[in-house]
């Protein structure tokens, strides 16, 4: 009997935003794994570490890259595929011996999460359960007190890595929008919001729900350094009725 592969969303960062199911699954897991930048504790681990059983085996999977690089390059793709193969191998070994694994994921596992690459490799071979999590964006707009999508609004999430023309074209209109992956893309994102006429209601959130949280109207960001894992929120149609 093989173990079960639990893919567990731990939410945006506040440990109280784990679900009851996530807390139960993590507390019961004999093996707990997570991704992290080399030398870092990892956001997902930091969020959920209070739930892990003292006797559980801990597997930290350190990403091979530590800075923003071109995710479309052949070098990146090859290295990352090899990395995920190794991680899947470590997991498979435990699952084959009958031990359950809880893989901790920031936010929601199937919404821009690295966990999907292990799910692709392990899902077809082992019993699998996906535990959804609060997305980072839900955490951010709740803290910013910014109602986002109403009634018949369209809602769109754009990576800040898109070029400025594409960004500004897709931001045009009155739909609700989230722009992720800021960092060095921030000046371009800001220009695109200006061109689309969406800058005035936009809000920038850094470290939403966590210590160090910053919530700023876009017009007050000015030259402030904005990290990669931050987001700009643009609410949809005004709610008032």
């Amino acid at each position: 009997m093989s173990g079960t592969f639990f893919v567990v969303g731990v939410g945006p960062g506040d440990p109280e935003l784990l679900t009851l199911k996530a807390a139960r699954v993590i507390g019961a897991a004999p093996v707990v794994a997570w991704f992290a930048k080399a030398g870092r504790a990892g956001h997902a681990h930091r969020t959920a570490c209070g739930m892990i059983a003292p006797a559980a085996e801990r597997l930290a999977f350190d990403y091979p890259f530590t800075t923003e690089i071109d995710a479309g390059s052949e070098h990146y793709r090859t290295e990352m595929a090899a990395f995920y193969d190794v991680c899947a191998g470590h997991c498979a070994q435990r699952l084959e011996s009958g031990r359950d694994i809880a893989l901790l994921c920031e936010g929601d596992p199937f919404f821009y999460g690295s966990a999907m690459y292990l799910f692709d490799r392990l899902g077809p071979r082992f019993p699998t359960d996906i535990v959804p999590g609060i997305t980072g964006m839900s955490g951010c707009w709740s803290r910013a007190m910014l109602p986002m999508a109403h009634g018949d609004d369209t809602f769109i999430v754009l990576p800040g890595t898109l070029d400025e023309d594409t960004l500004s074209r897709r931001l045009l209109g009155d739909h609700a929008a989230v722009v992720m992956k800021l960092g060095r893309n921030m000046p371009k994102v800001r220009a695109a919001l200006d061109r689309a006429g969406r800058a005035d209601r936009a809000v920038c959130v850094v470290q939403g729900t966590m210590a160090g949280e910053r919530i700023m109207p876009l017009c007050e960001v000015n030259g402030a350094e904005i990290p990669y894992f931050a987001m700009v929120l643009v609410p949809g149609r005004a709610a008032s009725r």
Copy 2:
């Protein structure tokens, strides 16, 4: 000292998908409120009822409309505004007397939730805390085991109430997409997915995470009756690396 207005997301339907914070806030609230169709228990209440303190006052706000009607009509807008005014009045009375209220919301409060209309009315007057919830769509794609958005994917949520041309134009491409508000819009949504060439990987989920859950590839839906509160999921670029 007035009470605090807690706007609490209860997630997609499985009571174990409440957050630890939602469970704490609901359990401690002297007043618990929720929206429901007239004569129904209400999804949000059904999901969270096990958490409510026995002595808590319960306020069920029954929507004035029970069927799909034109949300753009003047009649609908006027009636709904009056309804939300009355609900806000009931809440304000309790808050003014120093009692906290937990307003239960399906999914995430600021993502297509009626709670936003009470937030607009009460947020400026009373201390307010927004507790994010697992969205219905996260619940659905987790149960369907369907990784949705990867890397630099764009992600879009479309209401099925849009016209077929707009729907098919916005579905075009390789981004991840969710179409909500199905019901009588289903044949149109299906035609739009076909025209955009997105039908083959689309999955329809009814009652995701709840009793009565149904998960079907779109091609197997055929003439099946699909309720309004169901969704079609179209995953982004293939994940495999």
